[in-house]
Symmetry: C2
Subunit: 145 residues, 2 copies
DNA sequence: GGCTTATTGACAATGAATAACAATCTCTGT
DNA sequence: ACAGAGATTGTTATTCATTGTCAATAAGCC
């Protein structure tokens, strides 16, 4: 399987854009985090590692990585967007506790079925879906009593 | 069926909060719009009708309406959040064309099943879900050839 | 190596959303 | 109906994620 960097290199080539060390270290950082991330925490963790890039460069890179299907917006919370990398990972959805903010991942084959039915019914070519389920985890249910 | 205002009145009572004319006209405006809305366009359409409230009051009301299960965040796009009212409306999800931004609504009973299974599997009390399906509508598919 | 031009970092700017605060209004108890 | 407590309002200032600007730099092609 091609590496994320190779995928992105090809993507840049096709668009007449350049492969720079800044883009490389940001991508390496993103793909070393196996969790959701936001721009600010990414920036901070890179600074700690002496991997210095400006925050602007991160903001500029993100739409490109999305277009290249390497990362995806996951959800927007408390004024900022969270992302996760999707290349090389099985697609999954998120179950979130609205109280303690715990996030669980799950997948369900019925979503593929729903996609197929929507494609038929509305003549759409389905590209992807995003399902967020909000609820209360066991612990937070208990505490509310 | 109770009106949105009655529901909200009870909600405020239970929380020891007050029912004000500002809150009333904002709610009336929201429930007269049968579509997605954002704070800014709501504010503008209210100004046109001489229904003057400050934008701050709208921002302050929205989390309360969400808590009262009258409205819901639908999606975040171009830096702002979009909402729709849900009380008195059957729950539905959104199918969006990524190219022309058309939005279709649909519902699928399998989502309820998925919710039930998640509740069992993870001991969650499910409150709601949000499914966005992204794709290309027929027209945009044709144009891409 | 040299040239073109995309990209970078630093800084300023934008804009949605939130906070502060004094003036006002709701609601409860009398 | 009245008064007092305290919630809510509009105004204004502030926050903070994200985007724009621009001169300096560097990638990629010859």
């Amino acid at each position: 399987m091609k590496s994320e960097l190779d995928i992105f290199r090809e993507f840049l080539k096709k668009k007449g854009m350049r492969y720079t060390p800044e883009r490389e270290i940001i991508i390496k950082e993103i793909f070393s985090i196996h969790d959701h991330f936001d721009v600010d925490s990414l920036y901070i963790s890179m600074r700690k590692k002496e991997a210095r890039v400006s925050k602007a460069s991160i903001y500029r890179l993100i739409p490109l990585l999305i277009e290249a299907n390497l990362i995806e917006e996951v959800f927007f919370d408390r004024g900022q967007m969270y992302y996760e990398h999707i290349y090389g990972h099985e697609h999954h959805c998120h179950l979130r506790c609205v109280n303690c903010k715990q996030i669980l991942e799950f997948n369900d084959p019925r979503l593929k079925e729903i996609e197929r039915d929507l494609a038929d019914k509305f003549n759409y070519k389905i590209l992807r879906h995003k399902l967020e389920v909000m609820g209360l985890c066991q612990k937070c249910q208990d505490e509310q009593e």
